[in-house]
Structure formats: C-alpha cells, structure tokens
Symmetry: C2
Subunit: 688 residues, 2 copies
C-alpha cells in the first residue's frame, strides 16, 4: 500500500514537473487567493482584467479591488494609477495593464503605493519577420504562429488559443502592437485571403490591446496591382494605396499601419523611380492618415560602393530631416551597422530633429547565438537607451530623443524584432523569453534597469518551481540566495560575456557568413560585395586591426555630436569597448591596463569562454530549484554555447594570429580547434 | 645588397626548415666531424658501421676508432664493448649496434667508459599488422611499407630505399626482427609470389641485422594447400608445413619463424580439430626446428561464454605449461584483456614456469588515441616490465621472468605491434616515433628508465633544430631549460594523462566500439557478445561501478601469486589505479584521499583534460626550438587530443552520472557536450 501511494506521488510529481515546459512564460498558473473585483463597466478587455485578478491574486484574501475608468490628466495613453485596493485608468486597456502590474508586484514582493504608471512610448511593437509560407527569417523557435504553408487560410481553435496566449503575454508586459509579417515583405500580404487571416488575428489580439500592423512591399501596386509602376508620385499608384488602405480599415478598423523596408538589401523602394525616401513614406502616410495609421519607415539602408557602411543611414536620411509627414516614423536600428553584439548607438538618434524617430531592437538573437546562447539583451538595449547623444545638451539620451521628452513627436514608438515561434517554449531557449519580457518592459518604461527586469522575470518564471529537495521553511531565503542571486548575475553578465568571446573591443560583423552563428572573420569570396564580408569590418593586417572611423579615416565620428565626435576620435578618450570600431591600431598598441592590443584581444576571448563556464556552474548549482524539463533544456543550451564560445575564441585567436604573428599569451588556454578545420566546416555550412 | 643576402638567408632557412618533416626520425643528418675507422674485416654490415661513423661522428676530430670482432664471453648474442676509441663485438651486427650506441652517446652527451652492453632479449621484434592489400589493421600512419594492392610483386627502388631506412632505424635501437604481415593472417602470404617479396624485403633488412618472420594462418594447409584438413596431428598436414618451411628457408635462409594467432577472435586453430594449443604450436615448431626457426604462439584467446575475459588466457594456457617445444614462445600481451590504457600485468608472466614466454606490447596506439594523441608508452611498458609477479619470490619482475634471468628459456623474445606506415613521418604523429624508439630501447635493455629514453629521444630528434630566434651562445642551456625539460615532463606524464581522461581508477574497455577512438561506455547492441561491450567491463549500476574480480567475484585475483592475490583482493591494499579493475564499489565509497568514488572519478577526468591543456602550453612555449613543420603538426595533434579528452570527460561523467545520480562536483568545469549528441555521433561512426 505504501508503495502504491509512493508510486502515485511519484507519478504526480513527474506530471507536474513535465508541465513546466516554459509555454506559460512568466505567467505560470497560480493557486489564487480569493478576491472581490468591483467594476461598474464591462467590455471584453475588462472581463480579462477581472479574470486575471481572480485567477492570479496573491494578496490578502478577500480583498476588494475596484477598477475605475476615469479621465485623469496625470495618465497619458495607456497609463494607470495603482492603489492598494484600486486601479484607475483612462481606458479599459489601461485597467488591464494595471492589473498585470498589480499581480506582478504581488509575485515579486514589490510595494504598491498609489503610483502613476505611464508608458514611455505610445506604440510598443513586436516586428515578426514571419513569411507567408510559415518560415521565420532569423527565427530560431520554430515556424510562424501566424502563417503556415498547408491550409493557410483556415483559422483553427488551436490558432486562436495560441494567438490569445501570445496576446496575453504581450499585454502583461505592455506590448500593444504586432507587425504580422516579414519586413522583406511579400506583396501577397495585401491579398484578400491574407488580409482575412490578419483580421482573424486582430480579432483575437484586440481585447488585449494589441493592434496589428503589416509590412508592405513597396512594389505592391505593380506586382500585385498590375500597375505599370510603383512610383510614389504616380496618381494611379497613389490611388491604389488609398484603396488598399481603405480596404484594410474596412476589415481591421483599428489597423496600426505599415512597416516598410524600402530601397534596402534588394527590396524595391522609391529610389527605383528616382524618388526619395520621403516621397515614398509620405505617399503611404497620406493614405493612412485619415484612419490614424502610421508608417514605420526603416533607415536600414546601405549601398555597396560606400567606403563605410556605418555612415550610410545617417548620410541618406539627414538631408531628408523635416521632409516627412507627422505620421511617418523613421525606424532606426540601435547601432549604425546591424544588430551586432556591441555597437555604439546610431548617430541618427537625436540628430533628426524635425522627424519622428523610433528605435528598432532585435529580440531574436540573429547575431547573438540564435536560440542556443543564454544572452540577456536588456543590458544591450539599456546601454543604447541611456547613451547620451548630446544633441540637445548633456542628458539627451537616445531614450529621451525618441520618447517625446526632447522632440515633440506626434507619435512615439519602439520596435523589437520578435523571437517568437511555434516551439513549446515560444522562443527556443527558456532564457530567450527574458528578452521578449525585457523588450516589453523597456518599451513601457525606458528608464528601467536591467537588474530589475531580470529580478522580476526570474521571480515570475521560476519562483517556487516544484522541488523535492528543499524544505518549505527556508525556501524563500534559500531560493533568493542560491537561485535568484546567481542566475540574475549570470543574466546581467551574459551579454558582456558574448561580446568577449565573439567581438570584443569594438570588433563587429565577423560572424559566419550566412547563418550568422559562429565565427567567420575570414569570409570574403570573390564577387561578394565587400561590405558583406568580415574583412571589410576588421581590416586586419600585419600592421594591426580595426576600422578607422576617425577624422583621418572614414570620419564616421563626425556624425556624432560633440563632445562625442572628439571623444571617439581621440585614442585617449575613446571607450575601449568601441576601440576597434573607431580605430585601426597596431598589434602592439598599449592598452590602458598595460597589455598590448593583441594580448588584450586574446584575453577578452578567454574571459568570455570562462564566463560561459561560470554560467554553466551557476545553472548546475541552481538545479534543485528548477523542474527537470527546463533545467535540462537550459543546461544543454549552455553546453552548446560553451562549445561555440570556444570555437569563437579559437577561430578568432588563430585567424588574427596570422596577421599579428604574435603568440597567444602563454598563460592562456590553448586552442583546441585547428583553424583549417573550423574554416572547412564553416564553408561546408555556407550553403545551408 | 644586404637585402639580397638577407633574402637568400631567409630562403635557405625556409628550405632547411621544411626539410624537417620527421622522416629522418631520431637519425637526422649531421654535420660530421672527420674520423678514422680501422677495421680488419669487411661485410655489408661492417660497411654500414663504417659509413655511419663517418657520417655521424660528433666526437673529437680525427679520432681513430677501431672495430674489433673477437669472441668475448662477457658479450652475449648481439652485445658489444664500447671503448673511447674502440668497439668490440662477437659479430658484425654487434659492431653496428656499438656504433649506434657510440653516436647516440656523443649526441646526448653521455659518457663512454669501456662498458659492456648486452641485450635483455635475444629476439627484439616488431609485429606489423599489415595486410597483403596494403592496409594496416590498427595502423594510423598510412598504408603498409611492405605490401600494396597495385602492382603488388614489383620491387621498386623506392621500396628498397624505404625498407633500408626502416631497417636502419630498427638497427639503431637494437630491433632485430620484423613480422611482415598481420596476425590475422591471410593464407596467401605463403604463396610463392608473396614469399618472393618477403625475400626481397629480407635481403634489404639483412645487413642491418633484421630478420624477417611471417604470421601464418593455421588453416593454410586446407585453404591454400587444398588438403582436407589442417589438423596438426594429421600426417599430410605435418608434411605440408615441413615442405612449406623448407621452401621458405630455401628462399630466406635466416628466416626467423612464425607468429600465430590461433583459435582466437574467429581465426582458425588447433581447437577446430579437437587439438590443444600445444599440439598446434609444436607441430609448427617441429617443422621449423631444423632451421633454427621459432614459433611465437599468441595467448590472446577468449571465448564468449566465460564470466571474466580477463581470466581466460591464464585458464587456457596454464594447464599446457611444460607441454610446448623449446622453440615455441607463448606471446603474452602486457595485460590480461587487450592493450588498454592501464591494466595490471597478465598473470601468465612468471606463472608459466616450464614454457618460454615473451611479452607483446602495442606500439601502435589502438586504444590510446591513434596517431592523434601524444602518449609516450614507455612508462606503460616500464610499469609492466617492473611489475613484481612474486612467482619466484620478491623481485620476480615481468622483465626477469621473460628475459631468461629466472627461467632458462632456450629463446627469449619481446614483440611490439608496429606503428609504422607510409606517412612521411612514419608514425602519423611525430611523438609516436618516440614509442617505436622506446620499444627498441626497452627490448634491448629492459631495465632502462623511461625518463632516460625520453631524454635520449628528444635530444636525438630535436636538438639544434634550426631557429632564428636563439643565440648560439646560450643555445644549449636555453634548450635544456625551455625545450628538453618541459617536453620530457610532458612525455613522462602523457600516459597517466590519457588514463585520467579515458579510463581512470582501473576502468577499462569503455572506448567507442569499432574505431577504438573516443568514448563509448554505453555501447551494447543486441546480438553482440557481452565481452565485446563496455558495460561488461564497467558494470555500472545505481549501486556502483567496477568489475568484481575478488575472491567473491570472478576470482581473477587468485591467478596472481601471493602476496598479490590478497593485496588486489583487499580494498585496503589494492592500488587505486587498479581499484575498479578488481572491485565493484558503491558510488559513495570513500577513497583514501577522502573523496567519494564518484567525485574522485569526476576529478580524474578533469585532471586528465587539464594535463592535456598543460601539454599544449608546453609545446606552444617550445615553439622557438622546433622547425615550423613539426611544430605545427604536433600543435594540431595536441589540439585534437584536447578536444577528444574533453569528449571523453563529458561522455563518461554524463554517462556514469545516469547511474550515480550525483552531481559532478561543482568546482569542476561543466561538460560542453550533451550525452545524446555524443552517442548519436558515436553510433554514426559505428559503421565506419
């Protein structure tokens, strides 16, 4: 009998453990405490708010919570006021955001003090690079949750459940927009069939306050509409877009607008017709304007023949400053090149003073280890948001230059390229969920600190994971000490670790060619445009390494406002983290701490590997506090990350050593890969 | 002008450097000092002796050296007396050995003091596992130098040059016999065509004192001779072998004899006809006896149905002790299983008191990393030779039990399974040459210490490698300190390192199934006999690990003479290096140093990896003292070894952890491979 009970208990434990597969994200089921919810109004959104409170209440039992919708000037947009027993907002969705904030504070043991919460950006958007055939460009978590190849237009209950879970997750962190398809957009998205599906998605997302947006192909009027041109000044083109927008709004009345990648990396754009970005964007903006729609026009443009790709977005867009409609927002990647592990901020931030600008971050880890690496990107985004542009004096941070604090923008917005896919855990790696979470939190409050975001996410995602090994008595104290503290440390250090083992000291764009996973500093096949090859960026020679962007070089420094231009230009003041971004230096250049550049470079690579090894120890020690499914998933990912970190270290040390002709400092661990083997494997994967 | 000279010098250096590809082994070209050689007799062997002195003399210029052939009772077999100005021996080959010893002493700066040098074993033989199609079983240095598939019977000048270089290398270290073909012998070797080629080989080897032997297939009379049987007691069979032996000696008058693997691993043998090993071996011995030939009969036998493979050679051969002819030598592998990284000595050594016994070592690294690992096997062989069997009281070492010191054997012999192939550097890995060298040196003098052998080999192989980085003035002192000392340390530690990262604490036979490279402790497919699978040997369970060979287990301990039987049987006295060879112990068994068995096991694996990392540092630091070709070859091998050491560590820690259910001690580096991936790759290679 005893044995049977034990077996039943064991079975129960196993089932319960296996239930923790990460699908619930930071919104795990709770054993709710009874609560009374008082609300005089009703709507689908308010029903959700009520339900969330009832199912998630962790406060005092039998509390009464009043939900109050009342105009309040202190509250802007989706803001809310959080009291101990009330949530007040201008809108239903404001109430819902307040509910999620209240529940979060209960779970993370943060106080509730009748505070006002307002979002930093009006539009907080996830860009899905989802193709209509269901694949996801730079997606590492399975296929699209929105589109599929087989039976593409039937909307199943399973679809709706998934979209609802997705919308709820977004709402819980304040995300209020989703671009449903890839910026490399198929014109077909504007076909009736796909628009009908977009409508179905919008219907599920709407109660959660998430509006849908679409990426459009600039050539749609000709490729889809059979017009002879897509010239934005052509009356038939203008009419085509007007009609299309009208059609969209007839189907999706709260449609958010268009995202456009034009005249970039082979995508059609106004320049195909001798027009400017402003001509193109404004034409679309005019079509959207009557309905309150916006155009997010990407500044990610570069041509093959420029001597410094990092300068081009600025060079091309600055002359157009002031020429855009007020419902056009220029979407600018955080750095001037392309979502690298570390870049200085894009000089367009703050520089475009008469044009709306929005930051674009990449939540999916295209250049940061796909779904393999544990890299908490919050610190990278925080670094960007807090960068001072000096465009309107000290304190003109990227955050303040884009959120309306400094420049009066009609619309403010921020975008993150989504890492969501059909994988059970949504993001491929349990820890990649933290990046989705962090993007939402920073979009809501761009002054948040990464350590707080990590703290919240860990508590929400892992606290009181089933464990047979710990006594209830000391659980909280044990957990704080043995799980929360070390895991938070790992997260906060993780991006710097990745920079160290991939591209330290300002190196950038030296990854493997197509997959963008693993090292490839040598890649430069004949016929490939130079600015797509790593040697263009690292410029390694027997003399030294780095891209000279000083005044004597490409002069990219001058795109920054003083004192930055001089600071970056001058070796004495240039931050070492940007050293090789701005300077080409001899191998024996003396670093501040006394090492030569070569030795310092080698040491950064080694440090990065050792940091990942330390993460492995942290996670293994945290084992008793995590269900086995998620524990083992992350453990496996960290192993693979460490293997790849060693590959990065070996590849870069050995490749650059061919130029430096100096020994790897003898106290450092030696490579375990031969360069020839790495290169052979890399080229084998090239055509993947 | 200065620049031209510099360029010429540079060119010269490069050419000279690239000439050091390892093909010259430990016999590199020297800038000889003039010497006068006086010898009253002449023979091909004496011509070689004279030439070697003239081309290699490094002593006082214009010394006169007298070569004296004179009977001297102090000199046995191939022995010689080395004086400052004379070499005296009973035979021409004794003179040649003396010459090599003299030149070696000059190069290694060892004194010459009118000493007598006698070999420990009369027959010092390399066994080539070379197949007649040119492949080499367990060969990792290219195809056979003796046999080839295309145009197999033409003897080219290139063949002869290679055989002559091979013979010279052997002579220089005292090896005087070569078994030309695989112990898994094709009957075709006894065909006239192949015998003709063996004759051609013998003709080249003869002046260097190297006799040829052949492996024969016991079924040859039926498979090759078309007899109805190969029964050793059948008169027609006896006659067939007599005729065949006569034919061989008519072609190769100094033919050495036969090596036979019979009734083992599918090879035919006397047991196929209901006869004993003695019946089989004696029949062949009788045929060879008139010509002075010997039979080397392998004791490597085991059947699938025994409960302990380690016991079987002993069980099968001990009852036959005293039943063999005096020209039969039982060839016994160093350990009771199969050339594993560490085994206790085979209990047959010293136990067979009325039968000649010879040790068989494996120079080729079948179980020790092929041509990838740097593993100096001398320490392993030294460990075996110095093991005390106690069979005739303390001091009855394996060496003394086989070299005639204790038992009067008509013939004494020792065999090493060759690691030689067509690779430019002969052995696949520059450091594998040291194992060829060490085998010869230990066969000559089985009391030599590995540290002396390593010292000699390093000096002969690397001293004064061209280097632009060192001044002539301090070269010797610098070299001793920065190259000789650390590289010697690496060699002497290398086998223990391999044991640590592969099979520590007495573990054995847990390698990957077919290739015998890398880990495979999990391998046990259905239908494969248990004693070919690792779980048979490690016996891991949730209780513990190890093979119980105590008196309560398989009782293999009782095959050892006291006090060993009791010592191995008793946990208090069993050496930890043999712990899991003799004992099955719980995971939490307390080791002498205080760790649990599980923790100790994990720590051994980690230690092994770190030892290899240290070797990499040693070698990298030694870079300035080695030509770039050999430096980079070894550097690449060490990298691969380290990668594989990590794979071993990860695989074994993770596989055994499934049973131990204990954490890898948290201060240890974590695995970077996932067990599933390792196993998937291993099974992928299984059919290679």
């Amino acid at each position: 009998m005893k044995k049977i009970i034990f077996n039943i208990l064991f079975l129960f434990t196993v089932l319960y453990l296996s239930a923790q597969d990460g699908h619930q994200l930071w919104l795990r089921d709770k054993q709710a405490v009874p609560v009374t919810v008082i609300c005089s109004e009703s709507s689908p959104t308010l029903s959700i708010a009520r339900q969330e409170l009832k199912e998630g209440w962790q406060g005092k039992p039998k509390t009464s919570i009043t939900l109050i919708i009342k105009k309040d000037k202190a509250l802007k947009d989706d803001g809310f006021r959080l009291g101990k027993n009330s949530i007040q907002a201008n809108t239903d969705i404001g109430i819902l955001y307040g509910v999620y904030e209240m529940l979060r504070r209960q779970q993370t043991s943060e106080p509730i003090n009748n505070e006002v919460f307002n979002p930093s950006y009006e539009r907080r958007i996830l860009d899905h690079w989802d193709n209509l055939d269901g694949t996801v460009e730079r997606g590492y978590a399975g296929n699209s949750i929105f589109w599929r190849e087989d039976d593409p237009f039937t909307v199943t209950d399973h679809d709706k459940t998934l979209w609802q879970q997705y919308a709820r997750a977004n709402a819980s962190i304040g995300i209020n927009g989703s671009v449903l398809n890839n910026v490399n957009a198929s014109p077909l998205i504007l076909n009736a069939d796909y628009l009908a599906r977009a409508k179905a998605i919008a219907n599920v997302l709407r109660p959660y306050g998430v509006r849908v947006y679409l990426s459009v192909n600039f050539a749609s009027p000709s490729t889809l509409g059979n017009l002879k041109t897509a010239d934005p000044l052509d009356p038939s083109v203008i009419a085509w877009w007007k009609n299309k927008v009208k059609e969209i709004y007839s189907i999706i009345p709260d449609f958010g607008g268009f995202l456009v990648k034009a005249s970039s990396e082979g995508q059609p754009g106004p320049q195909n017709y001798g027009r400017t970005h402003a001509d193109g964007a404004n034409m679309l903006a005019d079509a959207l304007k009557p309905y309150g729609g916006i155009v997010m026009w990407r500044a990610f443009v570069y041509t093959a023949n420029d001597n410094d790709r990092a300068k081009q977005a600025y060079s091309e867009f600055m002359p157009l400053d002031g020429k855009f409609r007020d419902n056009v927002i220029i979407q600018v990647k955080n750095g001037p090149v392309d979502f690298q592990p570390r870049e200085p901020f894009s000089p367009l931030f703050g520089a475009m003073k008469k044009t709306s600008v929005m930051p674009e971050f990449q939540v999916t880890q295209e250049y940061l280890g796909h779904s393999v690496y544990v890299v908490f990107l919050s610190t990278m985004w925080e670094e960007c948001l807090k960068s001072d542009t000096y465009q309107q004096g000290a304190g003109s941070t990227v955050a303040r230059c884009t959120d309306g604090s400094i420049y009066p923008q009609k619309y403010t917005a921020i975008a993150g390229v989504s890492n969501v896919g059909l994988d059970t855990n949504w993001c491929g790696n349990q820890f990649a969920q933290a990046n989705w979470y962090a993007f939402g939190r920073l979009a809501w409050n761009n002054t948040l600190q990464s350590q707080q975001i990590a703290d919240e996410w860990i508590k929400l995602t892992f606290y009181k994971d089933p464990s047979q090994k710990l006594s209830e008595a000391n659980y909280a104290a044990d957990w704080n000490k043995n799980f929360l503290a070390p895991v938070k440390q790992m997260m906060l250090e993780s991006r710097e670790a990745a920079v160290n083992f991939m591209m330290p000291l300002g190196l950038h764009h030296i990854m493997s060619a197509n997959g963008h996973y693993g090292p490839g500093p040598w890649w430069h096949p004949k016929g490939v445009r130079a600015d797509w090859t790593p040697p263009y960026y690292h410029q390694a020679s027997t003399y030294g390494i780095g891209f000279d962007r000083t005044k004597k070089g490409s002069d990219a420094v001058s795109q920054y406002h003083e004192p930055l231009a001089s600071q970056f230009d001058n070796l004495k003041t240039c931050p070492e983290k940007y050293l090789l971004w701005f300077h080409h230096l001899p191998w024996d250049y003396k670093m501040k701490e006394g090492n030569t550049l070569w030795d310092a470079l080698c040491r950064h690579y080694e440090k990065g590997v050792n940091q990942v090894r330390e993460f492995q120890k942290i996670w293994d020690k945290a084992g008793p506090y995590v269900d086995s499914t998620r524990f083992m998933e992350v453990q496996g990912k960290l192993r693979e990350q460490c293997m790849n970190a060693i590959l990065w270290k070996d590849a870069c040390q050995l490749y650059f050593q061919q130029f430096s002709k100096r020994p790897i400092p003898y106290d450092l661990e030696r490579p375990i890969n031969n360069l020839d083997d790495i290169m052979a494997n890399e080229f084998k994967h090239k055509n993947d």
